[in-house]
């Protein structure tokens, strides 16, 4: 069964590109463009193998979502690898994300989609 990646990203254009790339690499994709959709998916007990999370979202920020994921009652969700994929790159943002528990902090503009896919593969396999 293909691994499931949940992409939480408010920019529809970027979301489309990320989803297309990861689908091509053989992953199943769920997407959320705001916290409401994200929480619905997280709480729905859909099997999620990795979360790709943007930080600047329209309602709550990515940190709040990350916090909720880590405190989730279901151990499977609480332990899921999270890649922060954002153009925020200040020390304080990286430190805050790290303190909440992430696998990787990737600054969007520094990486290509191939490199993103390679990182996903490194974390959860093909």
């Amino acid at each position: 069964m293909a691994k499931m990646v949940l992409i939480i990203e408010d920019d529809n254009f970027l979301l489309g590109l990320e989803a297309k790339k990861l689908k091509k690499e053989g992953y199943d994709i769920s997407t959320a463009v705001n916290s409401e959709e994200a929480f619905r998916l997280i709480d729905s007990r859909v099997k999620i193998d990795l979360i790709l999370l943007a930080l600047m979202l329209p309602d709550v920020d990515g940190f709040t979502i990350l916090e909720k994921v880590r405190k989730n009652g279901s151990k499977e969700i609480a332990d899921v690898p999270v890649i922060i994929f954002s153009n925020l790159s200040e020390e304080k943002d990286i430190e805050r994300a790290k303190s909440l528990g992430i696998s990787e902090f990737m600054v969007k503009s520094n990486f290509t989609l191939d490199e993103l896919a390679a990182k996903v593969k490194e974390l959860i396999g093909a």
Binding site: F13, L14, L17, N87, L88, E91, K108, S109, T112, L113
Partner: protein, 256 residues
């Protein structure tokens, strides 16, 4: 002498300006973030073309796409620099808070933060750890971090492909000395006269299209001097540049 009413007015005006400045800085940061988002999308799409994901390209198309990719890279670097400068100015305006800082640990941490940047420039960073124990210095940690970031960032940018950056840390009497050496082209004689001036850019760097704003070294000098230290460099054409700075182990009347 200004009377109380005048002083109060000046104080209020000061507060208003500080508020305005902080709002401006937030706006710059937000706009830069949005610009970076759109540049990221362009980068990914150009890369898809270059990789042939959207069909084969003619040599001319490929050549132009490659140029677009490089131009996009420069734009991303400019916006990143703008964000970093915005942050530097913000930080430089904040009060200095002194506490004991382990410079060896701080260098390791900054070096780690720059590992991606060094890798993408094909540069190796080497921290020659001191043989003796270096006592903590009485310093403002975040501002010291900024000084190290500025020096490492420059050293990586100017070292060129296959370059090396050497960092040393040593104790000299009641001071701790840090050096950052690159294997770049050196600073031009004209540049050497102005390198610590705000907004100054070495014409050689401009020619090589190395991005920068001319704020980094100016801020580094200010921060080092506010600690009672000194900053200087040695540079020879084609043989690279070494920046040195010292920080007193204890600030006069300090807390360490």
């Amino acid at each position: 002498m200004a009377n109380d009413a005048e002083l109060k007015k000046i104080e209020q005006e000061n507060q208003r300006l500080a508020q305005l400045c902080s709002m401006k800085s937030e706006m710059v940061s937000l706009n830069a973030h949005q610009i970076k988002t759109s540049l990221s999308a362009q980068k990914w799409i150009i890369k898809m073309f270059l990789d042939g994901d959207l069909g084969a390209l003619t040599p001319e198309q490929e050549n132009l796409m490659q140029k677009a990719y490089e131009s996009n890279d420069r734009a991303i670097e400019l916006v990143s620099d703008m964000l970093a400068d915005n942050k530097k100015e913000e930080l430089a305006e904040k009060k200095f808070e002194f506490s004991p800082v382990d410079l060896s640990e701080l260098i390791d941490s900054v070096k780690f933060d720059f590992s991606g940047e060094a890798y993408s420039h094909g540069v190796e960073m080497i921290f020659l750890h001191p043989e003796e124990d270096i006592p903590p210095v009485d310093a403002d940690k975040e501002k010291m971090r900024m000084v190290l970031q500025n020096l490492l960032d420059n050293a990586i940018k100017y070292s060129g492909n296959h370059g090396k950056v050497f960092i040393t840390l040593s104790k000299k009497d009641d001071q701790v000395q840090v050096s950052v050496k690159d294997t770049g082209v050196g600073i031009s004689p004209e540049g050497q006269k102005h390198i610590f001036e705000k907004f100054y850019r070495d014409p050689e760097a401009e020619k090589k299209e190395i991005t920068g704003s001319g704020i980094g070294l100016f801020t580094a000098k200010n921060v080092v001097e506010r600690h009672g230290g000194k900053i200087w460099f040695e540079s020879r054409p084609e043989a690279g540049t070494t920046f040195f700075f010292t920080i007193p182990i204890r600030q006069k009347g300090g807390v360490a």
